[in-house]
């Protein structure tokens, strides 16, 4: 049986889009169910890649390769390894949850919303599967559009347009420079080997002079750093997160941000290993600044979603720190932390979305004492908040621990500074939790808020399941990434940063 399973995964949601396009706009119920069925089917279709995945090899699996544009060296080349496997599954896992989450939230322009959502899924899976730089770039850019629409059309009234446009332009800013870098790489590959190709696996083998690596790394890194987002390129995130509809925030936080970190590990580091080593201090410091800065800024936020957005800056700082350790623990921690962040922050946004749906405000001050009317909600919120602050036994801890463990080996100062973020995380999260959930109900509007409905429990439960699962038995997931990570680490170990002064690199006279 040789089904092109990844292609199915990528394009099945598009089929759903076509299907929904043909449905009548009046019949919201049918549209929602259709989307849900498509999303669930997509998830089911994605299960074989988990079960049939061979954890012993770092090679790409489920590879498909078609000549798309041969004279330009562009092929439809897709495949996954342990790193992308988890991210693909995260995407297919979260989409049905998102569909359920927006069941009541979205009443207006449902059809378009669902189309955007499925379109987004295609883009995201495509990004994680693409092994051709051109193809990757296409998916990378394509998914901006549905996300942009999600924020701009269904976002919170006040500043959604500003947020959407900022999101689009900011992300595009980085990726355009990456496009130039991709082209430079492409022509350099031709110059060296005489072959025109965008095939990532072929370009991996290229020996690039350090001077060039330096600039190329920066160009790629900018694109990814914006997406991650690393300090100081993060300011689009709070706006986008805050203004987006719940589901948009979830997708944004859970999957889109991972494209940045994924980009680092898939493209930046293996393509430009020497430069990657050279930039370890810079990026680690930026990551650490992100961790602490994000956490500190979080503390003062008045808006729930903005707070979670800044907490993402902090969490993604951990991921970046982990990836830049280039050792097993750090990198695996980084990868698992990507998933963790997807689950926890995704869940947090869903949770905030639930009260937003009931109260139409996100201001912390509007709430207080919600534990009394909404005990189940409180319990789930607590679990997720704890997962977010890295409580052992829940998923966040595993990732953060491994990252810090890895970072500690590289540089103790990094680890010490980064670990302090754990303290701040507790501060802002618990303070927020206290202000929202504890105390007596002072705002009359909150007095009779209904607790979670079955639907809400139904979509939160799977998230909680995985939050606990990864916390208690992370090896299920770590094992899948082991071979790929080991390969990555070995790859990185073969390279070392040349000892040259920054000034000389920039001036260009290092030879």
């Amino acid at each position: 049986m040789n089904l092109p399973i990844l292609s199915i995964l990528i394009f099945f949601p598009m089929l759903g889009v076509v299907l929904i396009t043909m449905l009548s706009r009046e019949n919201q119920w049918v549209i929602k169910w259709t989307t849900l069925v498509v999303a669930v089917l997509e998830f089911i279709f994605s299960l074989p890649i988990w079960f049939r995945f061979n954890s012993d090899t770092a090679a790409m699996q489920f590879v498909e390769r078609l000549n798309w544009f041969p004279s330009y060296g562009i092929s439809y080349h897709i495949g996954i390894d342990g790193i992308s496997l988890l991210l693909v599954l995260l995407t297919t896992f979260l989409t049905p949850i998102c569909v359920m989450a927006c069941w009541k939230d979205i009443q207006d322009k449902v059809k378009e919303f669902m189309i955007c959502l499925l379109f987004l899924e295609t883009g995201m899976i495509g990004v994680f599967c693409a092994l051709d730089l051109f193809l990757f770039y296409i998916f990378w850019e394509v998914m901006l559009i549905p996300m942009y629409l999600l924020i701009g059309v269904w976002g919170a009234p006040a500043r959604r347009i500003y947020a959407a446009v900022k999101f689009f332009l900011f992300t595009m800013f980085g990726s355009l420079l990456m496009l130039v870098a991709i082209l430079v790489l492409y022509f350099y590959h031709h110059k060296v080997t005489g072959v025109y190709t965008f095939d990532l696996l072929k370009i991996y083998g290229l020996q690039i002079p350090f001077q060039m690596q330096f600039w190329m790394f920066l160009a790629f890194a900018l694109a990814f750093a914006i997406k991650v987002p690393m300090f100081p390129f993060h300011t689009w995130l709070p706006d986008a997160h805050t203004e987006a509809p719940t589901v948009g925030s979830v997708m944004l936080a859970a999957v889109l941000l991972k494209m940045g970190t994924y980009g680092f590990i898939r493209f930046n580091m293996p393509l430009f290993p020497e430069a990657a080593w050279y930039f370890v201090p810079l990026f680690s410091v930026l990551a650490i600044i992100g961790i602490i800065y994000g956490a500190l800024v979080c503390m003062m936020q008045l808006d729930l979603k903005r707070l979670i957005a800044f907490s993402s800056v902090s969490h993604l700082g951990f991921v970046m720190l982990g990836l830049f350790t280039y050792n097993m623990a750090g990198v695996q921690g980084g990868i698992i932390q990507m998933i963790n962040h997807g689950l926890s922050t995704g869940a947090l946004f869903l949770i905030v979305g639930i009260i937003y749906e009931r109260r139409h405000t996100r201001l912390i001050a509007e709430f207080g004492g919600l534990s009394t009317p909404m005990p189940i909600y409180a319990a789930i919120f607590m679990v997720v908040a704890l997962s977010s602050i890295g409580l052992p036994g829940l998923n966040g801890f595993v990732g953060e621990f491994l990252i810090l463990l890895g970072a500690f080996k590289v540089n103790k100062i990094y680890a010490i500074l980064a670990a302090s973020g754990v303290i701040f995380a507790a501060c802002y999260m618990l303070w927020m939790f206290q202000r929202v959930m504890f105390g007596v109900v002072t705002n009359e509007k909150n007095r009779n808020l209904p607790d979670l409905s079955m639907r809400e429990i139904a979509y939160l439960a799977p998230l909680i399941l995985f939050i606990v699962w990864i916390g208690v038995y992370p090896n299920t997931f770590l094992d899948k990434t082991k071979a790929s990570t080991a390969n990555f680490v070995a790859q990185m170990e073969r390279a070392k940063a040349p000892k040259v002064a920054l000034v000389d690199v920039i001036k260009g006279d290092i030879r």
């Binding site: 300011t235 800065y293 607590m382 680890a415 618990l430 105390g439 080991a486």
Partner: protein, 635 residues
């Protein structure tokens, strides 16, 4: 049975799940039954394991039980595995035993609370975490329990979440604990990258063979771990959360903030004794911090009026004792005091809970007095516990406290002894002050309340009695002087490392005389309290007026909370606000919006060039011609 040691922590978590998920839907008695039995069962299992362990041949000890591989990445492996050795057995026994008693007490105490199932589920979760903490075989799993108990402490302190002070206290406890955990975590990293393992026994054996005494890395590790201990065990400078933690229900204070969780730091130091003995500097730090905490918090205890706060400061002070013991290398003495303290301090808290219960929630001792006749069982058990904590022979506290005092003198320094003795004096004083203010003298109770004052139901008094028995006789497992009578010491010996120093033998008479001295000190304290609160009740007033500054300082707990607020909390808040509104919105986002703004500005100005006059356009073409011509001419 030993191979089923994983059941010990597992069973309570079933209770947690049951009560947490279904508690609201099942009758209260079932909640109580499940809540208590999931603690009782592990207690029984521990007893069985204990018996089995005693019969094991020496070479089969200690036992490690691996459940599964928890986290593995590269050469890092953290197993979910348990270590059964004397130290963990003692701890498991104490934890599950005391927990069981307190669970039963809680059935009565919390009976009318709305959050009854929630309470039991949290409490069960706590026991789970605590048992994991004490039975883990590696640092990381211990850390799981370590943070887990912190979480439960947070949940239980903030149990009455509608009270602002309660949720504040919970948060404070968690955050302060996190600061300690931060140190612990770094310690684990350093351990792993030093030893390439985080398994206790492997670490200790490598440390013993490959590292010199005074090795820098070991010193660093032990200091980092000790940071964790100061957080969890409320030592200077991180003790501030514990007094506030009294916002929680009283059984919680008894269980978590007296008997078990707060002693985790002592347990950890004792567990890592093999490392600490290699780091004399760290030991000194431990001893100094312990001694300082003991005296400082004892002094604060002198002036508190809230019955639970007195006990809280007393706990901090007693924990200081334990660390002092560890610091001078008397780890066993520390653990011994840990155990006896668990008994009598739990009893004290439960007793105070009984008082508070009777007083309809009143905690201020100034509104009590002469409760002896109303609460006889509570009173008498309370007396026993107080005698124990004061260190009066033959109560449990006597043995353990005396050992610490003695060791601090012979293995430590005369200063330690002086401090410890002074603290002992104060302890005796304020504990009896508490007794006198609460149970004796004139009744200052509101009439309204007085009507309802009654002895607690048996479900609460029976645990008191059980603990009173333990507080009374518990010390006899560690009888000093007589060879072979110190069962406790002998049992623990294999799990504890010894400080490498020349053995000095002191004459028995010296030891005995020191005992006498310590009892005398305690009696002096009791006497002073008696004189001030029974014989001349006006005396305290006079004393406070004579030394207003000092009194004020003590009364306000040396203004430590205020100090922290001013130096740490507020700067962080102000700084964060600045980071957000100043840096993030103005600078970072300002740059983003600014560059967009610049382009927009340009757009609105460049468009003005387009004047609409055709001749201007022609001129532009001509200028273009000139530019091209200029380009060719100018090269």
């Amino acid at each position: 049975m030993i191979e089923y040691v994983w059941l010990v922590p597992l069973v309570p978590i079933l209770g947690f799940l049951f009560n947490g998920l279904l508690g609201k839907r099942v009758p209260k008695w079932l909640v109580s039954l499940v809540g208590c039995s999931v603690i009782g069962i592990p207690f029984l299992i521990v007893i069985l394991i204990f018996r089995e362990y005693l019969q094991l041949p020496a070479d089969a000890k200690p036992v490690e039980v691996v459940v599964y591989n928890w986290i593995s990445s590269g050469n890092f492996n953290a197993l979910a595995a348990f270590l059964v050795d004397p130290l963990s057995l003692i701890m498991m026994l104490v934890v599950s035993g005391v927990s069981f008693i307190i669970h039963i007490y809680s059935v009565g105490y919390m009976h009318d609370d709305e959050g009854y199932p929630r309470y039991f589920s949290y409490l069960n979760l706590f026991v789970f975490a605590m048992l994991v903490l004490v039975s883990a075989n590696n640092f990381l799993l211990m850390f799981v329990g370590w943070e887990g108990v912190g979480l439960c402490s947070y949940l239980l302190i903030g149990f009455w979440y509608e009270k602002q002070s309660a949720s504040d206290a919970g948060k404070k406890a968690f955050v302060v604990n996190r600061i300690g955990d931060f140190g612990f975590l770094l310690g684990i990293f350093l351990i792993f990258w030093t030893f390439n393992t985080i398994n206790f026994r492997e670490v200790f054996s490598i440390a013993g063979t490959n590292f010199e005494v005074g090795s820098l890395v070991i010193t660093a590790i032990t200091l980092l771990l000790f940071v964790g201990a100061t957080g969890k065990s409320a030592q200077l400078p991180l003790y501030v959360w514990l007094p506030d933690a009294m916002e929680g229900p009283t059984p919680v204070s008894a269980l978590i903030h007296a008997a078990t969780m707060v002693t985790a730091g002592v347990y950890m130091v004792a567990r890592c004794s093999a490392l600490y003995v290699l780091a004399p500097v760290s030991l000194t730090v431990v001893a100094i911090v312990g001694a300082a905490t003991a005296i400082l918090s004892a002094s604060i205890g002198l002036a508190q009026n809230d019955i639970k706060r007195v006990l809280a400061y007393s706990t901090v002070s007693q924990l200081g004792y334990m660390f002092l013991a560890c610091g001078v290398g008397a780890f066993v003495a520390g653990i011994f005091h840990l155990m006896t303290h668990a008994f009598f301090k739990a009893l004290l808290f439960l007793g105070s809970g009984s008082v508070i219960h009777a007083m309809s929630g009143e905690q201020d001792m100034r509104h009590m007095g002469d409760l002896k006749k109303h609460l006889p069982i509570t009173y008498w058990t309370f007396i026993m516990a107080t005698l124990a904590i004061a260190g009066i022979f033959p109560f449990a506290g006597f043995f353990s406290k005396d050992e610490i005092l003695y060791k601090s003198l012979v293995d430590g320094h005369i200063l330690y002894w002086l401090i410890a003795a002074a603290a002992a004096f104060m302890t005796a004083f304020y504990m009896f002050r508490l007794i006198f203010m609460t149970f004796h003298g004139e009744s200052r109770v509101d009439h309204e309340v007085l009507h309802h004052v009654h002895e607690s139901p048996p479900v609460m008094t029976l645990p008191l009695i059980a603990l009173a028995v333990l507080s009374t006789i518990g010390g006899f497992v560690g009888i000093p002087i007589i060879e072979g009578a110190n069962v406790f010491h002998d049992f623990l010996a294999p799990a504890i490392a010894h400080v490498h120093r020349p053995e000095i033998h002191y004459p028995i008479s010296f030891e005995v005389s020191m005992m006498v001295v310590s009892v005398i000190i305690a009696l002096l304290g009791i006497n002073t309290a008696y004189r001030m609160y029974i014989k001349r009740p006006e005396l305290p007033q006079i004393v406070t007026e004579k030394i207003p500054l000092l009194y004020d300082l003590i009364y306000h707990k040396y203004y430590v909370d205020e100090l922290y607020a001013a130096t740490v909390v507020n700067p962080i808040k102000v700084g964060s606000d600045f980071l957000w509104k100043g840096v993030d919105e103005q600078v970072v986002d300002g740059a983003v919006n600014g560059s967009a703004g610049v382009i927009e500005w340009l757009s609105y100005h460049i468009r003005k060039l387009e004047t609409g006059y055709v001749q201007n356009y022609a001129l532009a073409i001509l200028i273009g011609v000139f530019i091209i011509a200029g380009y060719y001419l100018g090269r």
